[in-house]
Assembly symmetry: C2
Homo-oligomer: 377 residues x 2
DNA sequence: TTGTAGGCGTTATCAA
DNA sequence: TTGATAACGCCTACAA
């Protein structure tokens, strides 16, 4: 019992009810679009809400109802343009449905991921969107209530209330590797992602399978793992390619390099420049994801496209379905990828006009501006 | 009164108290690190928490205490790498302090911004971080309680509980423009950002002042505004430069172009390629922000650096100060910028080695990986 | 269709 | 130092 009898700071639903001369329940009905409310009553209540400047406390509503209109979005790193697009896709869909999102960067750290998951549950989120999470089914089950709807990408989690989106990592990697093989490459190296990520092992698997299908043995000396960042790719490429420069180490150097993602591929490009290697002349290069940067570097990067924005939208749509309680939501959804052959793999000569054409997808994306150019003031 | 007497689904603080043989208040004291708790009692309570798998409801705590350990972060578009870095900076600082963040993309839409601000208040956030917001002081005051701590960048809002971070937009733009003038350019065009953004008008002002200081009149025909995206820059540049191609329109074409941000500058690069203009030969180009892409395009982009990650950290630190109740938080903080002369402005010849050197900041950034490369499995 | 009463899980007050 | 009890603001069940 506070000393001060009642600091009438906040306008409550009760106040609105009093002002409108109705019961609290009626106001609540209006707020929640209960169908059985007279238009007249509704108008009266709306007027009082305006008059008093009433604002619902989603906190209190959530405490009572168990629904907070809030979704936890867990990703490795918002700094990676891939996840920027994904999150935007999520946000666009979820905002339209009235949800707010908690953004959680795990920074590839399992401890931080767990802490965030825990916090999200404490905060009473209605659902979870997991991208590149590390927690497996068991770990997840221990952390979150079994009835919490989840949509997870690149996660081994399979559960009753979980939908898993499976990006075709293996297929995409095989596509890329096969393309390099068909271009005549025989020594194809791989820059792999963190081994804890399902996507990383999937892509490495695809690479390996493509090699073996072509009768070429998988050579561990040609594979290096690192964090999926520009810096990671740079250092890994230096490590991998550097030892062949200016010294005789028996093995011939690789003539092609397939990378876990575009960020690493661009890092490898920088490393090549430093080592004096030309792309695609000395080294053919293929990435994965098709982030915007892939189209802006020289040579323009050959890659495997994952439609990131659409991935975010899809995941969110699936989650909304689960939240709506439609029992028949798929527990597993495939997400296709597509090989985009451009300049860095050396498969074909690219004219300046063709490059411009290849950039069109950046200039017409779902997201960008529609506002016309204006005259200066 | 629910039908079911009490679905003992959730473990409550009460349950823990009972299990530990103490009062609810004591458990609460332990949870909130109240100093006056016996180590013995604390241990007993901790044990019960573990045993029952208790999880605090931040919702209920927030309802009662008015503090939710939650911050609203409002930005135009997470898809812009600039804001990716900013948000990461915010998150790193706020996570360490135990806060979670609501991510809100306004998409440069004032209506959406207002809706989000409203929602954030309803959700009981403890503070607000505003980047590139449109709401002015009055609009903000109408939307949020006067005692809500706010840190805002690029916003005209000034208030008791608000700290405004002022990026040196005018100075940076003047620096860039002066540099072009000193390189001998006389017809310098400008691709401006949305006029509702204070940063856009600031940068345009700096451009104008630099021109006038050099005795060159501001020519409205050389300024075009558009959305601050790659696509915006592309279309604006086509519009601005296109009319000079293959026709005689009296005025000589611009020889240099200063852009509101790097995304637009890169868009302009694409436009130039399409128009057959070389950079910096036919057109010198300068951007603003120094996002990663600026270092990865060819020619490497001259720009005005804003330390984005640090900006996010600074804003968050200031907000935390306000939240801690230190009354003496600055109401205004300047944020410096720095001209980074690289290749696209044509001021100097850049050797391949120099480019590698210029990329070092990408390979040593605050954010990136530290995990060493690992041998393949 | 609207009103009444009670509790969601926590923290704050005051007394012990 | 700890215990009992009353709110925080809203929604749900049931009655009217």
């Amino acid at each position: 019992m506070e000393r001060i009898p009642r600091r009438k700071q906040r306008v409550t639903l009760r106040d609105v009810a009093q002002h409108a001369g109705v019961s609290p329940k009626t106001v609540s009905n209006v707020l929640n679009d209960w169908p059985y409310v007279t238009d007249e009553t509704r108008a009266k209540v709306q007027a009082s809400i305006e008059a008093l400047g009433y604002r619902q406390s989603i906190l209190a509503a959530g405490l009572r109802s168990g629904r907070t209109k809030t979704i936890g979005v867990v990703i490795p790193d918002i700094t990676n343009p891939f996840f920027g697009q994904v999150v935007r896709g999520c946000e666009d869909v979820l905002y339209a449905a009235g949800y707010s999102i908690f953004l959680c960067n795990t920074n590839e750290d399992a401890v931080k991921e767990r802490a965030y998951l825990d916090s999200l549950v404490s905060r009473g989120v209605d659902g979870l969107l997991l991208f590149g999470a590390r927690a497996d089914s068991a770990a997840l089950a221990a952390l979150v209530p079994g009835d919490l709807p989840i949509v997870a990408e690149d996660s081994p989690a399979h559960d009753l209330n979980t939908t898993v989106i499976e990006i075709d990592n293996r297929g995409g990697a095989a596509l890329a590797t096969r393309h390099l093989l068909e271009s005549g490459h025989r020594r194809i190296a791989h820059l792999g992602g963190p081994s804890e990520r399902a996507a990383a092992t999937g892509r490495q698997e695809g690479y390996r399978q493509a090699l073996e299908s072509a009768g070429i043995g998988y050579d561990p000396a040609l594979v290096v793992r690192c964090r999926p960042t520009l810096r990671g790719g740079y250092h890994a490429a230096l490590h991998l390619l550097g030892r062949h420069i200016g010294q005789h180490i028996g093995e011939p150097p690789p003539t092609a390099l397939f990378c876990y993602n575009d960020l690493m591929a661009v890092g490898a490009m920088v490393a090549c420049r430093r080592l004096g290697l030309t792309i695609p002349g000395d080294l053919a290069l293929v990435g994965f994801d098709d982030i915007a940067i892939a189209s802006l570097v020289t040579p323009i990067l050959t890659t495997v496209r994952v439609q990131q924005y659409q991935l975010g939208r899809l995941a969110s749509d699936l989650l909304l379905q689960r939240l709506a309680g439609s029992g028949d939501v798929a527990s597993q959804v495939k997400f296709p990828v597509e090989l985009i052959v451009r300049g860095s793999c050396g498969a074909r000569q690219i004219s300046p006009e063709q490059i411009t054409g290849m950039l069109e997808h950046l200039l017409d994306s779902d997201l960008v501006d529609l506002e016309p150019c204006q005259a200066p003031p």
